[in-house]
């Protein structure tokens, strides 16, 4: 028979370093106990008990219940009190505590153990019947709401009604007798709702509360939080049961919270608040204004000094800023909890650097203390926090691209371009298309009614570092009459809106914007990150401006320069359309000749921005119909412009229509059908390189063929590139170092990576498309059903945001393995959206890629994530 597992540990028995088993809260209570700090004793029920609860069909097994009662007995003995006792009653608090801090879960239950008998005991013990009955009243209220889920508003109504009855104003005016009446009313209500009495057996109360904690692990808030924070659902939560101490036992008692350093600024100075004669919930409720921690020194110097010492010891022990809860019961200090404190990005960076300066952390350890995604807020302008406090959002969309933006409403890209010359504008669209690109560029921010985090607007905005709030469901746009309705209220084009791309909030009017401040501490952190990372971080950039921005953020090359965005620009779209409409190769060549000089200029600009860093240029990728309008009016207008008949243009558009354009005539398939496009692009790439080389900058173009699925297909396009490059170089008698590689974004390319690697100088994993095709999910459509997948817990995260390591990742690993076996010199990178996601970056590090590439504003995040990955799992550079 297997050794039976232990599910319940006294604080003094538990291993303070094992957060996986005891949760953060339980582990830290054990650690503080071990360190001899004044912790009200208790026990922790492990996360494995939670996992078992679900495995057993949402039932706490009898053996676990027995174990709980045994530990309860031990603590009772320790404290010299007894559950439900009429003389010396034992009371506890019950708290949830997962491995990672999870605000979505169950609230704390205080005063558990009170019943009609023990409340008398508490009254006697404290010699304060009013206090005892108020505790009991609060407990019934809290337990009913949190554990059983009834009466939240009803109990508040009872209080109000009774106050009216008694003609009093404040809760504090209730006498002990009043509270007894109220308790009776609560219990009557409870019985009516639940068809049974409020539990009088403290053990029954306890098991009910434990089960409520386990249940709360799967409530919808917790599920959403886990998805947003990459927490696996199989971790489970622990439950800590702690002896009650009372901050509300009169004027020598109190309760408070404190941070060892300032969580907003990072300043190295203890920062906290407390309330005299209060329980924890009073501090949180915010009804009474708490006092600054420093005040405690005047009130109880001994306790204050003891607390400051404990705080300092805890910070030194955990080597991180601590967030602590404490209670003073009749003058004596108790530590209720400690944890690493949440902090702003600015504080995170400062604290990390300071801790190194203070000799408490190594550089590597300091890097591990910062959440990479948090850095983002340091890179964008933000709303002035004081101004923000004074206003409430009128609506909310998805926080698609961070930053703050304010401007007047524009409805079309033409309007945006025009009005942006005079003032700040926002582009407000139902959804954006590639044609809106210039409007997106001139606008301060974007707001769309449709589309998710990976919609066109979101992807392009992130690429540009432009603030974007996408998919606002309360937004209705009347383009014709130039009005929008947001959450029921109408706005014209004159109106100002303020958008917060970091939260998705939409505000009416103007809120002051503060520019990004890349302080010295940020620079230090980035320097350390570069020192310890193994992955190179490149950027996805399509314009010289983006490229320059990315270099400022530390990009060491371009991993993806999409050439199609260049084709949409106003000065060339006409020639592009002329090419598409040509029915002969000669016609297409004539049109391409017009694009060539502009395309060459694009590349010159990008090379100049990047200097001698490598630049990966991806050849034309989207299906050609994306360059044509689709509505009859627009076709008609364009036909007039182009001097062709409506019918001709309409026929071309309808001929180019595809049922599934994502899997249609795009990528290198265009080069197979129309080699002249690849020829023109090669000529532009090489001629531009020669031009810049002659200026003394040795540029390194890496030509990337998209959507390859077969070696012969790659070779076909590569041969075009080599032929034209040779011709151009011979003509100008100047050689350029260029390489030709491919995207790996079609499952077949990953499967046959060994063959393709024989000809390719590099692979860049295009994880957006690879995810689409590996899952069979259209990114544009999956939003409609993915919510059902989260709700049913089939998926715990969005595979387009966080790389699916088990499926897509397995394919990538295989491609890396067989690709390297067949071509050991091949350079491997990633350029999908995932290239900027920390957990995906860690995956890329672990499978041995050479670089990740992401949008400019994610470069610092990627640098830090890459460093953390290497610190966790070092690899030889």
């Amino acid at each position: 028979m297997a050794q039976s597992k232990k599910y319940v540990y006294l604080f003094s028995e538990a291993d303070g370093s094992d957060k996986a088993l005891f949760g953060g809260k339980g582990a830290n209570l054990a650690e503080m106990t071990r360190l001899g700090m004044p912790v009200p004793q208790g026990f922790t029920i492990t996360t494995e008990a939670c996992t078992r609860y679900y495995a057993d069909g949402k039932k706490i097994a009898d053996d676990i219940i027995l174990e709980i009662f045994k530990k309860l007995e031990a603590v009772e003995k320790l404290q010299g009190k007894k559950f439900g006792d009429a003389e010396n009653p034992y009371l506890v608090s019950v708290r949830s505590g997962a491995r990672a801090s999870m605000p979505g879960m169950m609230d704390t239950i205080l005063n558990l153990g009170l019943n009609d008998t023990s409340v008398e005991g508490l009254a006697k013990l404290t010699n304060n019947p009013r206090f005892a009955y108020d505790c009991y009243r609060r407990f019934i209220q809290m337990y009913s709401d949190v554990v059983v889920g009834v009466g939240k508003s009803a109990f508040e109504k009872f209080i109000d009604e009774y106050k009216t009855e008694l003609k009093i104003k404040n809760d504090t005016e209730f006498t002990a007798e009043n509270l007894k009446v109220l308790i009776t009313r609560y219990k009557v209500f409870y019985k009516k709702e639940m068809k049974k009495d409020f539990p009088q057996d403290p053990k029954e109360q306890l098991i009910g509360a434990v089960e409520a904690v386990f249940r709360s692990w799967e409530n919808s808030r917790a599920i959403v939080y886990r998805r947003m924070n990459d927490i696996p659902s199989n971790w489970g939560t622990a439950v800590s049961v702690q002896s009650m101490v009372f901050g509300n036992m009169g004027e020598t008692s109190g309760t408070g919270v404190a941070f060892t350093r300032n969580p907003s600024t990072g300043e190295n100075k203890i920062y906290g608040e407390f309330l005299i004669n209060a329980q924890g919930e009073d501090v949180v409720a915010g009804i009474r204004t708490p006092l600054k921690l420093e005040k405690l020194e005047e009130i109880n110097k001994e306790a204050y000094t003891q607390f400051v010492n404990i705080a300092s010891n805890l910070e030194n022990h955990y080597k991180d800023m601590q967030d602590m809860e404490f209670t003073i019961e009749r003058g004596k200090l108790y530590m209720l909890q400690t944890r690493n404190g949440k902090r702003t990005a600015q504080a995170a960076v400062k604290i990390a650097v300071d801790l190194v300066k203070e000799g408490k952390l190594t550089e590597k350890e300091a890097l591990m203390k910062i959440e990479p995604k948090q850095l983002d807020s340091l890179l964008h302008p933000q709303f002035d926090s004081a101004a923000l406090k004074k206003t409430v959002p009128i609506s909310k969309g998805l926080p698609a691209s961070p930053g703050a933006a304010l401007g007047q409403i524009c409805f079309t890209q033409e309007e945006a371009v025009e009005r942006a010359k005079k003032g700040k504008v926002l582009l407000v669209r139902t959804e954006t298309s590639p044609e809106d690109i210039e409007g997106m560029n001139v606008a301060e921010g974007l707001l769309t009614a449709r589309g998710g985090m990976t919609s066109h607007a979101a992807v392009v905005a992130r690429g540009m570092g432009r603030c974007c709030v996408a998919g606002c469901q309360e937004l209705l746009i009347d383009e014709e009459n130039k009005t929008v309705v947001i959450a029921g209220k109408k706005y014209t084009g004159d109106a100002y809106l303020s958008l917060d791309g970091s939260t998705g909030n939409i505000y009416e009017g103007k809120i002051d914007v503060v520019p990004a401040d890349l302080s010295g501490d940020y620079g230090t952190i980035m320097e350390w990150a570069d020192k310890y990372k193994a992955l190179t971080v490149r950027t996805n950039a399509d314009t010289p401006a983006d490229a320059a921005q990315a270099v400022v953020f530390g990009a060491k090359g371009i991993g993806l320069c999409r050439t199609e965005h260049m084709f949409f620009a106003e000065d060339r779209i006409a020639a592009v359309r002329e090419m598409i409409l040509s029915t002969s190769e000669a016609g297409r060549r004539t049109a391409l000749d017009k694009i060539l000089p502009m395309q060459r200029q694009d590349f010159i600009g990008i090379y100049q921005a990047m200097g001698e860093l490598p630049v990966t240029i991806r050849y034309l990728d989207p299906p050609l119909h994306e360059f044509l309008p689709h509505k009859d009016e627009e076709i008609s207008a364009l036909a007039k412009d182009m001097g062709v008949s409506f019918e001709t243009l309409k026929a071309t558009v309808s001929n180019l229509h595809e049922f599934n354009p994502m899997m249609g005539h795009r990528g290198c398939r265009l080069s197979v059908s129309f080699p002249e496009i690849a020829e023109m692009q090669t000529q532009a790439v090489i001629e531009a390189a020669i031009y810049v080389n002659k200026q003394g900058v040795k540029v390194k173009p890496e030509i990337m063929i998209p959507l390859v699925g077969d070696l012969k297909e790659f070779k076909f396009v590569k041969d075009i590139v080599d032929r034209i490059a040779k011709k151009v170089m011979e003509k100008s008698q100047y050689n350029v170092d260029y390489t030709v590689g491919t995207m790996i974004e079609i499952p077949r390319a990953a499967i046959l990576a060994d063959e393709i690697a024989t000809e390719a100088a590099f692979f860049s994993f295009g994880t957006n498309d690879l995810t689409q095709m590996t899952f069979g999910f259209s990114r544009d459509d999956a939003g409609k059903f993915l919510d059902n997948y989260y709700a049913t817990k089939i998926f715990e995260s969005d595979p387009f945001a966080k790389l699916d390591q088990s499926g897509v990742g397995k394919l990538i690993k295989m491609a890396v393995k067989i690709g390297r076996e067949s071509n050991p010199k091949i350079k491997l990178g990633i350029c999908g959206e995932h290239g900027g996601d920390p957990s995906s970056i860690e995956f890329c590090h672990n499978i041995g890629l050479n670089y990740v590439s992401c949008s400019p504003f994610r470069v610092p995040i990627a640098r830090l994530a890459a460093a953390q990955a290497n610190i966790r799992n070092e690899r030889v550079k």
Copy 2:
């Protein structure tokens, strides 16, 4: 240094069993030589020389040319003649010959070696100047056309003009002098066109001809033929150079072709034709009417007897019906070539069975002699061949589904249903949609203007065994005025058309149709096939009629029963639409309750048709918008019918619109969003099974969840199935043996097959979708660019017709391996279009699948292909 390779072999040196090296023609010439048969001697240039020709940049290497000349010398010595000699000139024929017979390649060149000198020698030698100059004239003409590619029509014009000049009617009236004049005119023309003289050096002529054969390996006809017949382009062709013998040396000479058995009927009787005083090209040209072979007995008994003996020996030697060419030069018989003869399906079956009866072949060997795809023509009604000879097609489409059909033209499915009650109809549509299904069912055949071999019309028609000609580009339909224009001619609904789905031909009027005759020999072959195959063959069938048809064809179960086709039927589409429009689960359940009894009835019918054979039922798969109309008029009409507003319906339709529906909200994703659909389908499956079980037939439903990509997703739907099945079985107190498995059609499912196999009872590889997503090709769109892929030789076959073994196949192999490792009992099958393709079936056999499933009319093909696969590569049953 490596041993230098030998590229040229005398017939007497070559290995007659090595067709890979010498091509079919070269190998058989060597073999006949070895058997002592009268073969004009010569040599064969190997297929490796062809491969090297391409590797060397389309150049015959000097060492190979030297080898050719050395062998030439040897043969000259053997024959006692000399190339270009004025006294005793040596002449040769030059022929292409690949490993497999390839009609797309180069024609034979006869009389090579003639020039201004040797023609005199030939004249003297034969004492027949007219004969000699006619040979020279023919040679120049043939060489110019075939080798150099000039003058095809010009030379014919010269002949006609000269006949007019001379006032003669027939070529035979030309004198030797006339022919000399003609030769001069030919040579002048040649020089004008080619800027050089017609080659007088016989060796130059020879190398030119050899190069022309190599070149012809890559001409477009050859490429198309190879793609259609799965011949890899790296095989290359051999070249056979053979001493000329002359059938045109007067009345004791002649030439002919013969088969050892009748190639039309298979009758065991030698069958041939010959012409006196003629060369091979005269027989082929068909200007003179040839004599029956039997006539030869009267003319030259010795030669006849010798030939009949040789024919019999060859058949016994090759154990197959032979197709032979022979020439009699001045009374003496020469064998020019032998090969396994092409034959009709009927003949193939009879010959194979007869050869076994005659003790010449084992059953296994006999099975290998039949091309599985050929069987198809035995299963369908066909046009009476006599009637067919008298008529020419008016146009041609793709042969999308075989068989013959005649009927009057119908334009809509309603019209077809109505008019089919009175007579035979054809459904003629621009393209078909799932709503046309009833019209397709009542029509004799289908004709569409758009869509390829895997369009909706083609797939459904093949499934039904209904004749279909698809994608006829010369077809214009005017639905409003009820007329069609085919190749410029207008037809009304009264007109009759005849469609040949096996050739794609379209005929005006009525051509008699002969029903399929499944003769005794066919039955014998099928019996043997079942005896020797390891794979089980199932069918894809959605209706009791299809199921019954498939059982007749020998299916051992249903591998794919698509339930969505049932949803389109007229009596239930309204309820389906009601379900889609419901905004609540309750509303959907109300609608589903209406569908339930009909769906149950569907399954009862199918179970009854299949008896105790397993029936795999796939749950609803297509996106819901497929059940709604998309055009405003149709939406408006339906809205009226359904009693909802146009706006509501329009909004629903537009809300369901997807950018890439293939990768959208479909398959099991529907069950995740709307579990009530899977619940209803389960209830229908199990209730129907109970009903039929109670009749004493123990049915075996296998429930198949489509589009699964993740274990949890599969488990979610399987849990619904199990829960409802349990409920239904408990209610009726009757147990049903059912299993739940999944399609593997998403790359991710193949990658994670080990996980999914822990819960799935079976996998069915849905290779249509798996091919789409592994390649990133939308089947509906890829037609537009795949032609470019064939033209550039990136692809040699259509991955939707022939399974891509290197890419998709690698994924399947992996899924089979890890799936079986994790669940050794798992049943594995395939149900894509590939399940009926012989080479794909062989692949399925080799990787160890349990069954293939294909449309009913492909079942016999699959049975034979499965037997052949097992004979080639036996596996333990």
